[in-house]
Structures are given as C-alpha cells and as structure tokens.
Amino acid sequence: MLSIKNLHASIEGTPILRGINLEIKAGEVHAIMGPNGSGKSTLASVLAGREEYEVTDGEVIFNGKDLLEYSPEDRAREGVFLAFQYPVEIPGVSSTNFLRTAVNQVREYRGLDPLDAVKFLTLMKEKMKLVEIDQKLLSRSLNEGFSGGEKKRNEIFQMAMLEPKLSILDETDSGLDIDALKIVSNGVNQLKSKDNATIVVTHYQRLLDYIVPDYVHVLYKGRIVKSGTKELALELEEKGYDWIKEAVDSEATV
C-alpha cells in the first residue's frame, strides 16, 4: 500500500528526514517510536503534504501513485489521513459544516454522490458512537476550547467519517487518561480492516497494548534505525533509547 524509499526532507534548509525506508501492506499496523525531535511528526507531515517541508530526495508510492505529486487535499481524497499531534483550533468554522464539506468533497473525488443532510447526520451519529464523542462538542466551532483529550477523540471521529485507507496517528495517545485511551483505541481497532493500514506514532508502549502493532520502528535523527515486532516496544520501555542512540552515534563517528 505504502512504499517509502530513501526519503529526505528538510525545513528551511535543515535536513530533518535523512533517508527513510518503509514498506506497509494493507491490513498492517506499524508503530513508529523514537526520542523527541527525531522526525516522527515531520514524516507524518510530509506524507500528508505540508508545504513547509521540502522533499529533497526519495519517493513515496501510495497504492501505485506518486503521493508526493498530490496536493494535501488530494492525498486525503486518495485515502491518507493524518491525526494531528496538535489539532488546530478553528474558531467560527462549525464542526458539522466542516465535516460535511470534507466528506462530500472526498466522496465527489471518489465518484460518489454527495450525502444529503439526513444521510450525513445518520452517518455522523453512527460514527459518534464509535468514539463516544458528545454531540455538544460537534455543535461548537472546530476544536475551539476542546480539552486535549476531546481534540484527540475528534481526530479519530473525523478519521471514522472519512474512512481512509492509510491512517497516521501522531501521538494520539499522549495526554489521554486510561479510559479515553481505551475508547480511542477501541475506535481505531473497529475501523481496522484487511484493506486499510495504520501508522501509530507514539512515545509510550502503553498504547500498543490496545492497538497491537505488527511492526515497531525506531526513528532517530531522521532515519529508521531499528525495526522489530511489538516486543521491541517493551524493550524500549524498559531500557529507554540510550542504547540505540549510542549504537547509532558511535557508528556515525566511525
């Protein structure tokens, strides 16, 4: 589904991603872990199409298409979804209007008829249950004044509405209490199928008890420096990142 080869990206001339290679197949869950500032959010942003990042080398093929050629909105319409680490508050834009515009633009791109108000509301109600999000939240401006947990829940709710093929969850677990974490994970798990794939970016192994990954990768200094199965996450939890950093840094100086 997704094939990233030798991806380099920089911001304002500073290289951040320095040769990422990653293969993801439909039905898989990949966890990306790594110390602060290693480039996890950058990778997520580059995949979603943020313009500030300049891709200087490498390629990203998504379902046979050259993803980097697409605008952010077309990537979304092709089925890429990014749950933001820091969802943006947008005063004055109603959550419901926003979602209806989004859903219908995505549908149009996929050659489907737009949903009328009734069908849209039905869909919304169904997906709201999935993440146990309160109707009251959605009658407010998008993310405005939402608590951290509410914002994260809203991200997963939007994901449920847009039915992406590839979901990238950037630290969706950070700041959630255990109940909220269970709800969010449960939502993600219900949306999982053999046809879609998920990338979870996280600092905490805790999340991976609920969203069980097929693979775990460690990102450090803009490269994937170690890959393994879910046991790797446990090992990282126990030992921290220093042993990996040391190994990489000593190699680099040689």
Binding site: G49, E51, S71, P72, F84, V88, I90, V93, T101, Q105
Partner: protein, 422 residues
C-alpha cells in the same frame, strides 16, 4: 489657513448659501475656519489624505440636486426578505412621494423643524466635514419616535445617487427617540452613476431613557464614491445602541462613529467589517465616551484586505473619572491577502477612573496556514478552505446583525466576495 482652505474646491463649499438654522450655520462656519481642511499633518486624518483625494478627483464642485425616483426603482432595489418601511433619498434629498408612510412616528424635513438643536450631538468643532455639512446642508430629515413606541418594522434608508462628476451630496438626519422607544435602521446606497462623487453625511441620534436602537450600514456603492460620515449618538440611562457597518467598496471612505454613554446601565456596541480590494481605502474612526458609572461598550472591527487596499482603524475609548465600574472592550483584527495591502490600526484608551474593566487588542496577519493545512488534510480543496476560514473570520461581525433578512443579504454579499476573490 482659512483663505487657503477656501481656495480649495472642497473648501469653497462653505460659502454655499443655505437657509434656516442661522445660529448653527454661523457656529459651523466658525468651526470650519478654525479647523481648516485636514492636511498631511492633521493627526486625525494622518492616514487618510481626504483633502488631496477630493482635490484630485472632484472637478467642478457643486451641490447635487434631487432627481426623480420611481416606486419601481425602490421596489427593484429592495433586498430579498425586507418587509419594513423605506425612506428614499435622491442625492441626499428626502423623497416623501416614494417613501413609506409610517404610522405613529413623525417624519418631516429637518428644515421644517427649525428648533431642532442640530450640532449639539455631532459637534462641528470635532470634525471639519461635520462643520461643512452643518453650514451648508439643505433639506435634511427629521425623525421623531415618541415615547413607548416600539417600531416593529425596520426603517430602511435607501440612498439613490445619480449625478455628474464632482458633485457633492450632503445628507443630514436627525433622529430622536423617546423613553422606551425601540427601532432598527438600515442604511443602503444605490449608485446609478459611474463618475466620482463626494458624500458628506451627518446623522445625529438622541435617545431617551430605556431606548433600544440598532443602526446598520452597508457601504457598497462602487469604487468611485468618496465618503465622509459623522454619526453620533447620545445614549441615556438603561438604553442600548448597536451599530454594524459593513464596508465593501468605495474609493475613499471615512466613517466617524461616536457614542456618548450619558446614563448609567447604558450600553453601546460598535461592530464593523471591511472587505477591501483594488485601491479601496476605508478608515473607521470610532469614539466611545464613558461619562457615568456602570455603562458598557463593546467594539469589534474586522478587515480582510486584498490588492492595494488600505484599512485604517482608530478606536478611542474615553473613561472619565466618574465612570467607575465601566466595562469597555475593543478588538480590531485584520487579515492581509496581499503584500501590497496595508492596515494602520490604533487603539486609543484614555482611562481616568480606577475601577474599570477595559481590554483592547489588535492583530494584523495572514491567513492561518496551520488551519488551512488542517482543513486540506480533511479533503477540503485549498480555495474552499480559504473561503471557509475567511468567512469564519468575517462571520463574527455578521452575527451581530439582528435583522435576519439583512443578515442573509450581507452574508451572501460577503460570501460572493470571499469566493470570487481568492
């Protein structure tokens, strides 16, 4: 100063013969002599070179005469859903024959009400254009809403303009509202001309106790209108006054809006939205004077500027020593869509009382890129996402229009503009 001023085309207007209100006229002429026309060094007009603009754009300065407005013209220009009363003006002159008969209130020419204390609210000493109007307007309109009359129907001022180049229109309206009176006014201009003209308008509004007034203005008369307006109101005890000004076009527009809070538990609200493109220049100078304790003022002006347009916002809040427990809020926010657009914004707070809640803030920036990207990642096209964000920005002002049909009308105009321009 005065002889020089009179040599200018616009300054020569002061000698235009106008009948009635002798005392007020001569007071205004004196105020004109003292102030002179604003130049580059005049603080109040620092960013709005109105004298220069008028000298350049007006060839042959004369007062515009009225012309015939037909009922058809009135009906075909009513915005959708409007079911109130219409007061029609032709080049600033009231046209009783095509205006609504409104029961329960008095409407007549201001010139027929010669004991009206004109100039006592909008004082000619405060603004030279206000002085010119007071010295030289003819006709004018007098509206008196008696005590306890709550007008269910909105009053629409429909201003038709049809003139030759360089002519001057000087509307003048006096509105008085008795205790417990309530009314909503909408001001709209229909321009039938494609030459440059100058509108110099004065509206004075005198409220009673517990009166509640709304005053909405839509400025959309095309790119060749030069306009100065002075609108001022006295707000008495337990009363509210709310103004919303939507400015969508004009060559150079200067709005002076002043609220005088004169009685406790009074409230004054000023909202403004300016969407500017081309070389449009819009300057909003607002002034709120808190003279007594326990009054509140709220102010929000927002601007979206494209092309070479220029916006000026100057918000004075004056809280006098006696005005304890004042609440005064002011915000001015601007989005620049072009590198050539400019905004000058200046809050001016003068607070002499110590127990007050005052806040003010102004921002000028670009469209929020983070928000734009967020919307795009949900599959919303860039243009539409921009439109959503700009519309959300503007919507905060439109929300304050309490007349549903007018709000819908303005919303449509704003949406069309935001959609078209991006």
């Amino acid at each position: 100063m005065s002889t020089l001023t009179k040599q200018t085309k616009i300054g020569s207007l002061i000698d235009f013969p106008a009948k009635g209100f002798e005392a007020a006229r001569s007071q205004a002429k004196e105020a004109f002599e003292i102030q002179g026309l604003p130049g580059t060094k005049t603080e109040e007009y620092k960013f709005t070179a109105i004298t220069k603009k008028l000298e350049q754009q007006l060839n042959d300065v004369t007062m515009a005469e009225p012309f015939e407005v037909t009922p058809d013209m009135v009906n075909s220009n009513l915005f959708k859903g409007f079911d109130g009363d219409v007061l029609v003006f032709a080049n600033g002159h009231f046209q009783a024959n095509v205006s609504s008969q409104i029961e329960g209130i008095e409407i007549s020419l201001l010139s027929n009400n010669s004991d009206t204390p004109i100039g006592k609210i909008a004082k000619p000493e405060k603004d030279v254009f206000c002085a010119i109007n007071q010295a030289t307007f003819t006709g004018g309109l007098f509206i008196s809403i008696p005590k306890k009359i709550q007008l269910e129907k909105t009053i629409l001022f429909m201003n038709f303009t049809k003139i030759s180049a360089g002519q001057v229109i000087q509307p003048r309206i006096w509105i008085e509202a008795g205790d417990f009176a309530e009314a909503t006014f909408i001001e709209q201009a229909i321009n039938l001309t494609d030459v440059t003209f100058f509108v110099n308008k004065v509206v004075e509004i005198k409220g009673g106790h517990n009166t509640h007034l709304h005053y909405y203005r839509l400025q959309n008369e095309g790119s060749n209108a030069i306009e100065v307006s002075n609108i001022e109101t006295d707000i008495q005890q337990d009363s509210t006054f709310s103004s919303v000004v939507i400015s969508l076009s004009g060559e150079m527009v200067r709005n002076n809006l002043s609220l005088n809070l004169l009685g406790s538990n009074s409230e004054g609200n000023m909202y403004g939205l300016y969407l500017l493109n081309g070389k449009t220049h819009v300057d909003n100078h607002t002034n709120v004077d808190h003279t007594i304790p326990h009054a509140e003022s709220n102010e929000l002006y927002k601007g979206i500027l494209a092309d070479h347009s220029r916006g000026v916002f100057n918000g004075k809040i004056f809280v006098r020593q006696d005005a304890q427990k004042t609440n005064a809020f002011q915000q001015n926010n601007n989005i620049l869509l072009s590198e050539d657009a400019v905004v000058n914004t200046k809050p001016q707070l003068e607070i002499w009382a110590d127990d007050v809640k005052c806040s003010h803030g102004c921002t000028t920036g670009q469209l929020d890129e983070e928000a734009l990207f967020y919307l795009q990642t949900r599959g919303i096209g860039k243009q539409q996402a921009k439109g959503l964000l700009l519309y959300a920005f503007a919507g905060e002002v439109l929300e304050h229009i309490k007349h549903e049909a007018f709000k819908t009308y303005c919303t449509q105009l704003v949406e069309d503009r935001l959609g078209a321009k991006l």
